[in-house]
């Protein structure tokens, strides 16, 4: 039996936006409610490929025998071709490679992991680079308050074969009836623009995320006490605080949103990497990952890091 494991995680964040310095009073007010002090904005000529390349370069030495690239993004450079193909060339990876994009947002890391794990455990591939990258800032109008929430970022996760079982099962849910709650579509000026119904997304999170965790743990016959940390998608301070209150277990929810912001599909791998760096978790600790957002879509998995 083949198993899969996470080998390495790296990430790239554009420089701090310093919004707090631009309008201190407004930003302090926002910080109190969102828990976000700074966001990250990519340069005008930078896109997801550039961010993904920068994140992947940090683990370049380990990329020599990569057999697959999975690129999770909702803000691709082109509608076609896929970003994964462009990244294969940019990183000078072998042409004998599997390359695919996954169009998912804040649940995208869980989706990417599930595809990578399945490909490895079914002996199709041995080593996969899972990249998550988004540049929402390019679609958020300067008058849209979501600019105080979202950050541009990329993460790179290396997944390879393991002798031991590391991943639990995955559990996914989708509610396409709420597809308009988070959407990029043409605005009145005919420009592609980001829209989010924050209150609806918040109530969805508040109602559905505790439920899926409970269902998952019951199905897996596991307890929250067995988990060293829970890595939720870092949506906003208020959402993370609410989820912590609902779970009713203090200090189990990892939070690093303050100076990073909501980095969509990269927020979970960035959090895991930070927690490893700060020795809040260590190798072989059991952790629970839960992504949720655009779709609406949500998913959960437990794993030994």
């Amino acid at each position: 039996m083949s198993y899969a494991k996470i080998d390495e995680i790296s990430y790239y964040l554009p420089p701090v936006n310093n919004l707090s310095k631009k309008n201190k009073i407004l930003f302090n007010k926002i910080y109190k409610k969102t828990g976000i002090l700074n966001t990250r904005i990519s340069k005008k000529n930078e896109d997801v490929i550039d961010l993904a390349y920068s994140a992947s370069l940090k683990i370049k030495k380990k990329l020599s025998n990569i057999e697959g690239v999975i690129f999770v993004t909702q803000t691709p450079r082109y509608l076609l071709p896929s970003c994964a193909c462009i990244l294969q060339d940019r990183l000078k990876l072998s042409k004998n490679i599997f390359a695919v994009d996954i169009n998912m947002g804040c649940s995208g890391y869980i989706y990417g992991l599930s595809v990578a794990k399945s490909l490895i455990e079914s002996n199709v591939l041995k080593k996969i680079l899972l990249v998550c990258a988004d540049t929402y800032s390019k679609y958020i109008d300067k008058n849209n308050n979501n600019k105080y929430l979202f950050s541009d970022a990329a993460s790179a996760t290396l997944i390879s074969k393991s002798k031991n079982k590391k991943f639990g099962n995955f559990l996914f849910k989708t509610d396409g009836s709420k597809y308009e709650k988070i959407i990029i579509r043409k605005n009145k000026e005919g420009k592609q623009a980001f829209e989010m119904d924050g209150a609806s997304v918040y109530t969805f999170t508040l109602m559905e995320i505790p439920k899926i965790l409970e269902r998952y743990l019951k199905k897996e016959k596991r307890s929250i006490k067995e988990m060293k940390k829970i890595f939720f998608h870092q949506a906003s301070g208020i959402i993370l605080d609410t989820l912590e209150r609902k779970i009713n277990k203090k200090k189990i929810v990892y939070k690093n949103i303050k100076n990073i912001g909501n980095t969509t599909s990269s927020s979970i791998p960035i959090s895991i990497k930070d927690a490893l760096n700060k020795k809040i978790i260590k190798k072989n600790d059991e952790i629970l990952l839960c992504g949720f957002g655009v779709g609406l879509s949500w998913g959960v998995v437990s794993l030994k890091i």
Binding site: K33, N145, G198, A199, Y202, T203, M207, I238, K246
Partner: protein, 80 residues
């Protein structure tokens, strides 16, 4: 558990950090700077805490108007 009108007004005013006297049946988000999208989230959080997570807030469509909030609470049979 049921909530009375005066308690609801107090809940909304605390969530928005404004005086209770300013809230009435006709209050709307447009009336207050504090009742922005983040203010809406604060009201939802307060309702969730008040009803100890037992209210299906997924069914509340808009939180930008006292009348709509009362309508939702009446529908859920938790408004006195």
């Amino acid at each position: 558990m049921k909530i009375e009108k005066k308690d609801l007004f107090s809940l909304i005013s605390k969530a928005l950090n404004i005086s209770t006297k300013k809230i009435n049946d006709k209050s709307k988000s447009n009336d207050f700077e504090e009742w922005d999208s983040l203010g809406q989230l604060a009201i939802i959080t307060s309702l969730d805490k008040k009803f100890k997570g037992k209210l299906n807030l997924n069914e509340i469509t808009e939180v930008d108007d006292v009348k709509k909030i009362i309508g939702f609470l009446k529908k859920k049979k938790v408004f006195k």
